[in-house]
């Protein structure tokens, strides 16, 4: 195990060193562009809903749409071939090339053609295949794989491309600038397109009503690829079909904004092939340009390759809504550090790649990188069709766990009383059973803290289960929040307007008890009656390890305990944002809609609740308001942000008179247990370095965060633990 983790850590380190800088700059640029571009839309959410609804409907009716599209394309004079798998598709494509006696096929960018590896197949058949997208061409020359689904050569700097071209092509004058490199490529590829016999494109969307395909591009190579040769082959996954041309509209408005942050790309080709324009034969300069294009042939190769089975799989199905815009890659903190060569499988990369790889190439390909999704959920908000990408990652992780052979281990077995019938590895089970660990740690604190962080034990933990030696383990408190609350002597507010169950999440209850006490003081100061009953862990820890059965049994136990309170009119207030996200999001899948709804409706994040109390007339002077000018640097938790809860914290700070600046780092890099894992420690710190520099730049009097992970990570980065938001505003003891 340990050596596997070591080699994974080594691979990630190598990618970060060689490709991390270029990937980071480019993806962060795209991500910032996305925020800017979607902000210009007057109804971004409405447009996303529209896009989502079209995809839901299209995938639901897919078999029927395939038939309709096939009939339409054939009526238009084209041919449709529904290929069962990659081999089937490649054989058909090779046959078309053979019939055309094609020496050269030029291609515009298509991930689906990467998926079926058609280039390699055709090369073996003696066809010269030329990628005409500049990024793809760079990779073809370099013999590398794409590191990003939209900008495939994102991992290469200009200087590297210049070096590559100068060595490979030996141009008369050395190429240096982006302009020189682009013009060189334009000329070289222009010549190759002129001689091409067949043009191959992908298709971003296919409208069944007219056979119209949309190609979203910027360079113009797809236009040339279609226009010049008389034979066009389009390779597209079956999921690209939408019912009508009008259905393309929301996607055209969203795809560029979501991906590279462009309001719209230079060219949206809306082709109904075979197209009615002339081919261009550069070998016949005397011929007129005009012509009716009657010599054109069109072959649409629709790729199944696992997709129709994905459609039958309730959890993978949503993957088919993906329009491959790359938003989930660009917004992902881990992806920003490593790119698709680490965060990717055989073909696809980024958060949604787990769904694609599991569906088209099989689980093993997804297993290679699935752990890099920490479930931070920033991609859910970025996804133009609202795919629950973290859930797909969790489900696939669970399925991968089921396939793992696990030795029964003497050390950890007692610590892992989970519901898993088969084996997540030791490391996952340790972190997944964090509740047991926390209880033991608290019982034996402070001795447990001393032992766990002591050299020999710390090293043993790293060797056996892979807990990074560099990390200090959480400090467990001897007296839990629940115990403190039971034992304290306090007079509850007379005639309270509201009654609250302060949920003792595992982190607050066993480790960060002070923030729990601060929450109690805050709520009571605002006239609320508070109870802190003993409630089981929310199930976030097992869920993050792909232990869904265990998470479900936790969720049921939580609901069993809290439902009676809800029935008696208590509100449920939660400090840990990742647990709020469980109550408001993941529990829908774990508990079913009915039980979910009542708990979800009555659950609040602590600062959201405080905001509501202040809005309803509670007196802010009962809180710890700022004296003079106190500046605060605030890092919101990733899931808190996805739930749209950050503004409440900022509003409360504002009302309390604090001068706040926020970080815009998508994630702290710790993300639950991720940063504690030996093999991901370096990546976690690299992600954190972005936040680190932002917080240092803000240089505030107080650093404040909301999540436990963020607190731990910022503590490790800055050398001093930040406060929780509620600790800042809580009245003194």
């Amino acid at each position: 195990m340990s050596s596997q983790r070591d080699s994974k850590a080594e691979h990630i380190r190598h990618i970060m060193e060689t490709e991390g800088a270029a990937v980071g700059t480019n993806t962060r640029g795209f991500n910032a562009g996305r925020y800017e571009s979607v902000a210009k839309l007057s109804d971004y959410d409405g447009l996303k809903d529209e896009a989502r609804a079209i995809k839901e409907d299209a995938i639901e009716r897919l078999p029927e749409l395939i038939d309709e599209l096939t009939a339409t394309v054939e009526e238009n004079g084209g041919t449709v071939y529904l290929a069962e798998d990659a081999a089937d598709a490649n054989e058909y494509i090779a046959e078309v090339c053979a019939q055309q006696e094609a020496d050269r096929l030029v291609k515009s960018k298509s991930m689906t053609s990467e998926e079926i590896e058609v280039n390699e197949y055709l090369e073996r058949e003696g066809v010269d295949v030329v990628e005409t997208d500049l990024g793809e061409w760079v990779l073809q020359v370099a013999e590398e794989a794409p590191s990003h689904i939209v900008a495939p050569a994102i991992h290469k700097s200009r200087a590297e491309i210049a070096r590559l071209f100068n060595e490979y092509f030996e141009p008369e004058e050395e190429l240096e600038t982006a302009e020189e490199l682009t013009m060189f490529a334009r000329e070289q590829l222009g010549e190759r397109i002129k001689d091409a016999d067949v043009g191959m494109t992908g298709a971003n969307f296919l409208a069944a009503d007219s056979g119209t395909m949309a190609l979203v591009t910027s360079e113009g190579n797809a236009r040339k690829t279609v226009t010049v040769p008389d034979t066009q082959i389009a390779v597209a996954g079956v999921e690209k079909i939408v019912p009508t041309v009008e259905d393309l509209q929301p996607f055209i408005e969203l795809i560029g904004r979501s991906g590279t942050g462009q309001d719209i790309t230079s060219y949206i080709s809306l082709l109904t092939p075979p197209i009615d324009g002339p081919t261009v034969d550069f070998d016949d300069p005397g011929a007129p340009v005009a012509g009716d294009g009657d010599d054109r042939e069109f072959h649409l190769v629709l790729i199944d390759n696992g997709r129709l089975a994905m459609r039958e799989d309730e959890d993978l199905k949503e993957t088919l809504y993906c329009i491959r815009c790359s938003a989930c890659s660009n917004t992902c903190a881990n992806f920003q550090s490593v790119g698709g060569h680490a965060f990717g499988g055989e073909t696809y990369s980024g958060g949604i790649a787990t769904g694609w790889e599991a569906g088209v190439h099989g689980q093993e390909s997804a297993a290679e990188f699935n752990d890099l999704c920490t479930g931070c959920s920033r991609c859910v908000e970025a996804c133009p069709v609202g795919i629950d990408i973290p859930w797909i990652n969790t489900v696939v992780r669970d399925r991968i766990n089921d396939d793992e052979e696990v030795p029964m281990d003497f050390l950890v077995d007692g610590l892992t009383p989970d519901e898993e019938t088969s084996g997540p590895g030791l490391q996952k089970r340790l972190f997944g059973n964090f509740e047991t660990l926390a209880k033991l740690g608290s019982t034996f604190a402070p001795l447990s803290n001393w032992v766990a962080n002591a050299g020999p034990v710390s090293r043993l933990l790293e060797e056996t289960v892979g807990v990074a030696d560099e990390r200090d383990l959480p400090t467990f408190q001897r007296t839990t929040l629940v115990e403190w609350f039971d034992e304290r002597e306090a007079i509850p507010p007379a005639d309270p307007e509201r009654k609250v169950v302060l949920y003792p999440d595992l982190y607050t209850n066993y480790m960060m008890v002070e923030r729990g006490k601060a929450a109690v003081r805050t709520l009571e100061a605002l006239g609320v009656e508070v109870v802190v009953p003993s409630v089981p862990g929310a199930g976030r820890a097992p869920l993050s390890q792909g232990m869904i059965d265990t998470a479900r049994s936790k969720a049921e136990a939580v609901a069993d305990t809290l439902d009676p309170y809800v029935e008696q009119g208590y509100d449920i207030v939660v400090i840990e944002p990742s647990d709020v996200a469980m109550f408001r999001g993941d529990y829908e899948r774990l508990l079913g809609p009915d039980r979910f709804e009542s708990l979800s409706e009555h659950s609040y994040e602590i600062m959201e609740y405080v905001y509501g109390l202040l809005e309803n007339g509670a007196d802010v002077d009962g809180l710890n308001v700022a004296d003079g000018e106190t500046t605060v640097a605030y890092h919101s938790h990733c899931q808190q942000r996805t739930m749209g809860l950050e503004p409440y914290t900022l509003q409360v700070f504002d009302r309390c008179g604090y001068d706040v600046e926020t970080s815009d780092a998508e994630c702290c890099g710790m993300a639950g247990s991720f940063g504690y894992k030996e093999q991901y420690y370096d990546l976690s710190m690299d992600v954190g370095s972005n936040l680190d520099s932002q917080l240092r730049e803000i240089d505030a009097d107080r650093v404040v965060a909301s999540g436990t992970s963020c607190t731990d990570q910022i503590g490790d980065l800055l050398g001093e633990e930040p406060s929780h938001a509620v600790e800042l505003i809580a009245p003194p003891e």
């Binding site: 007057s42 238009n76 491309i161 360079e219 041309v245 055209i252 230079s266 294009g293």
Partner: protein, 172 residues
Amino acid sequence: MSQQTAEPATAFEQFVTEIQRYDVGVTEVTPSEAADAIEGVIEQPAVGTALPFEGVELPDSVESEPTVGDLDAATTGVTAAELAIAEYGSIFLRTDELGSEPVSLFNDLHVAVLHADDIVQDMTAAFEHLGERARADRSSGILATGPSATADMGALVQGAHGPKRVELILIT
């Protein structure tokens, strides 16, 4: 779908503002001034396809029935745009038997000629038109916004495969 703007602008004004964001030069003319305006922005040699607007002709210096050799040698291609979208600064270039697609694509400079009456407000309006037309005659076209561009070589460069520059002659 509408984009927020500081002040309500007419579709015409908004279109002109948006297309200029992509470094497209805009010349507003009456039909009778169009030929001179085209002459003023083209770089020779130039090829073109017939313009479907009443009273609008290509200037004599533009080869209106080009051969493949003419196309290959040309610096400028002049074609008509069928439709424009105010909110995006986009123009729709219909593929036709005259060869407007290659003429608008292969040269360094593309001069597009648009009639102001053909500007629609938003993408929804554009797709209503495009959808109906696609179903009716199964034709094709390109929704083009600014010149060809790429960032694949490490910085944004205009003119990757398609035109490096676009000029718009806007007939009012």
